[in-house]
C-alpha cells in the first residue's frame, strides 16, 4: 500500500472496518502523498460526523404506546363501519348543500321574476299617462281613437 494511492480504499470501505495494520500502512503512505493525505483527513472527519449522527437517536416517550393504541382503535372503528355508510357520511353535507342551492335557484328563476315585470308595466303606463295626460284606466283603444277622429271629421264637414 506504501506506493499505491489509497483513495479507492477510502471510498470502498468504512474506516471502521479497516484493521490496525491497514490503518498504519495508510498513515505511512499519507505522510508522503499530499493528495491522499487530504482525502484521508476528509474521510476521517466524515467518519466522526457520521458516527455522531448515528448516535443521535430519539427514545420513545412514555406516552407513545398510548398514542399508537388510540390511533389503532380509531382505525379499527373506522374499518368496522360499512363502506356505503362511510360514503354517505362523507357525502351527506355536500348533497344537502346541493339540494338547498337547487331549490334556491328554482325560486329565483320561476317565482321572483314575475314581480319586476308588473312593476315595469305600471311604470310604463304611468309614463304614458303623464305624456298623454290620461290615467291608465282611461286609455283608449285603437278603434276608439279612429272613431273619435272620424267623428271629429264628420262634425267639421
Amino acid at each position: 500500500m506504501k506506493d499505491k494511492h489509497i483513495i479507492d480504499v477510502l471510498d470502498n470501505r468504512s474506516l471502521l472496518n479497516l484493521s490496525e495494520s491497514e490503518l498504519s500502512e495508510i498513515q505511512v503512505h499519507v505522510r508522503e502523498c499530499v493528495s491522499c493525505r487530504e482525502a484521508y483527513e476528509a474521510a476521517r472527519v466524515s467518519a466522526i460526523v457520521l458516527q455522531s449522527r448515528a448516535q443521535a437517536t430519539i427514545e420513545p416517550s412514555p406516552f407513545f404506546q398510548t398514542r399508537v393504541m388510540a390511533a389503532w382503535r380509531e382505525q379499527q372503528a373506522t374499518e368496522s363501519v360499512p363502506a356505503m355508510w362511510r360514503l354517505w357520511s362523507s357525502a351527506k353535507a355536500l348533497v344537502s348543500t346541493m339540494a338547498v342551492t337547487t331549490a334556491a335557484l328554482a325560486v329565483l328563476s320561476f317565482v321572483i321574476p314575475a314581480t319586476p315585470a308588473s312593476d315595469q308595466t305600471v311604470s310604463y303606463l304611468s309614463a304614458d299617462s303623464v305624456i298623454m295626460g290620461q290615467a291608465s284606466d282611461e286609455q283608449m283603444s285603437y278603434e276608439q281613437v279612429l272613431a273619435t277622429i272620424y267623428e271629429d271629421d264628420d262634425e267639421a264637414r
Binding site: L16, A42, S46, V49, A56
Partner: protein, 198 residues
Amino acid sequence: MELDLARQAQGGDESAFAEIVRRYSPRVFSVASRFFRQRSLVEEAAQEVFLKAFTQLGSFEGRGSMEGWLTRIATNTCLNMVRGAKRRPEFTVSDLTDDEQSWLDHQSAGNEGAQPSVENSVVATDLADRLLAVLSPEDQQALLMIDGEDASIKEVAEATGWSESKVKVRAFRARRKVREAMEKLLARTNAGQVTNER
C-alpha cells in the same frame, strides 16, 4: 412465540398489539431517528410504521425475527416519507456556523482526541446532516448504517430489501460524495486559517 403474538394481534387482540408496540418501539425509533432529527417527526413515522405493520401482520410468517421484519417496514416507510423532500444544494464554508467552523478547525489541526462533549456531538451531528443532505435518502441510509453504525453490507440489505451489490454501490457512491464535500470544506477552512495567520 413471535408468530403467536402476531396472529393474536391480527385477530384483533388489543393487548397483543400493545405488546408488539411496547417491545419494538425502541428499534423503530432507532430507524426513524436516522431519517429525522425532530421528535415529532420521529414519533409520527413510528406510529405510521406500527399502523402499517398491523395491516401487514398476515405477511409475517415467523421465518425471520419480528424485529427484522419491522425494521424493513420502518426503513421503507421512512424512505417514502422523506423521498418527496427537497434536497439542499451542496453547502460551502460561508454557510457554516461559527461552532461548525471552529469544530472543523479543531479537527483539521489534527486534534483527534478532541474532548467529547454534548456541544461537540451536536455540532458534529449538524455537520453530518448538512453533508448527508446532498445525497439521496437511499444513499444516506446505506452510508449511515455502514459508516455510522458499523452495520455489515448484509445487514443493510436485510433492513432495506436491496441486493448486497446495490448496497455496496450506494455506500461507495455516498462515501465518495461525502468525502469530496468534506475535502472541499477542509481545504477552504485551511485556506482561511492561513489568511488569518498572515
